[in-house]
Amino acid sequence: MERAQAGDREAYRELLDSIGPMLRAFLRRWVANAEDLDDLYQEVLMTLHRARHTYDPGLPLEPWLFAIARNTAADHHRRRTARARWEVLVDVTPETVAEAEHAPTARLDEILGNLPDGQREAFEMLKLEGLSVQAGAERAGVSPGTLKVRAHRAYKTIKALLRR
């Protein structure tokens, strides 16, 4: 990153190539479909590009990178939620049959979409990605105890939502 800050294009390309898969895996927890993921991924890389002067080479890259990714993803999610409020729901859509095949995934996405950000993040990291509590806590920037509490609350919320 230090070389990228100095304008070394090859170093910058190498860096972006190496963080790409990790970033996409991280962002996959925030969005339901591939199209949204691509949009969000591009948005994060643009923000990272705009903010590259703020990186301090004396510090680890990951917290800086994931803070940008997390914030951009949260913004994206907020915008989507706000937009969804204005959308008109219809009983039958042409995509209904096609979507029915993915009903369980859609239901899970819907339930996860209803969880508060922190709880969703905890659930996805521990149960969908299979991260350890320690690794998840480091990525989320919270203590392991906090992550466990969030995950526990997420289980309770999911249970309640499934009963509805």
Binding site: A4, Q5, A6, G7, D8, R9, Y12, R13, L16, D17, S18, G20, P21, R24, D38, Y41, Q42, L45, M46, T47, H49, R50, A51, R52, H53, T54, Y55, D56, L59, P63, W64, L65, F66, A67, I68, N71, G141
Partner: protein
């Protein structure tokens, strides 16, 4: 490894635009530069004339403790505000709690000042001047902090702005306590503390727009 074509196309664009960038100064260095502003204001106030009983007041441990608590909170808020412009270095909950505790200590110490309604009402004009001076003293340090924060990428605009407001207005509060000779509770609460609280709230609201990363 190149995971997608979306990745390839965005990387091409970004790499093509990869000019050298001037790295953001570390928060500590930016803080030290900022600190020059409140110190300059202190020198200017000293030149205008501090409160006549200052030496006597400085002999009171509670007065000194109050000033130190607000000063520590103000400097801490400014430092955290500058740090919040660096992704991944936003203030922790513990740091915010520490600031609030310092302010709570200061509030308790201000609360111990004598209440004299007659004096507070008779000095209404002086009170208004104190509020105006508090806000005026905070303007330059606040703008300097906002400019410094905007140089980075504040991910939580309202938090960064509130911290900048708390830093600048807290410093102004301390300067005014060295300048204004009144120690009456109502005067301090309404004309010294209230502008600080209102200013921090306003900064937080405006910061959402002005300091969005």
């Amino acid at each position: 490894m190149k995971p997608t074509s979306v990745h390839d196309s965005i990387v091409e664009r970004l790499v093509a635009d990869a000019k050298p960038v001037r790295r953001l100064w570390p928060p500590r260095r930016r803080f030290l530069v900022w600190l020059g502003m409140p110190l300059a204001l202190l020198v200017a106030l000293a030149w205008l004339g501090l409160r006549p009983d200052l030496a006597q007041r400085l002999a009171s441990p509670l007065y000194v403790l109050e000033l130190l608590a607000v000063l520590a909170a103000a400097l801490g808020a400014a430092a955290l505000g500058l740090r919040s412009a660096v992704p991944g270095r936003t203030p922790t909950r513990g740091e915010i709690v520490a600031l609030v505790l310092l302010l709570a200590v200061a509030a308790i110490l201000v609360w111990r000042q004598p209440l004299n309604l007659e004096v507070a009402v008779s000095q209404f004009a002086l009170g208004r001047a104190c509020a105006a001076r508090t806000l005026a003293l905070a303007v330059a340090p606040f703008l300097l902090l906002v400019v410094a924060i905007r140089r980075g990428l504040p991910l939580q605009g309202s938090t960064s702005a509130a911290l900048a407001g708390a830093g600048a207005l807290g410093a102004a509060f301390v300067l005014m306590r060295l300048f204004c000779p009144m120690d009456e509770l109502l005067h301090l609460a309404v004309w010294h503390a209230l502008p600080v609280i209102a200013g921090v709230g306003l900064a937080a609201v405006l910061g959402r727009r002005v300091l969005r990363g």
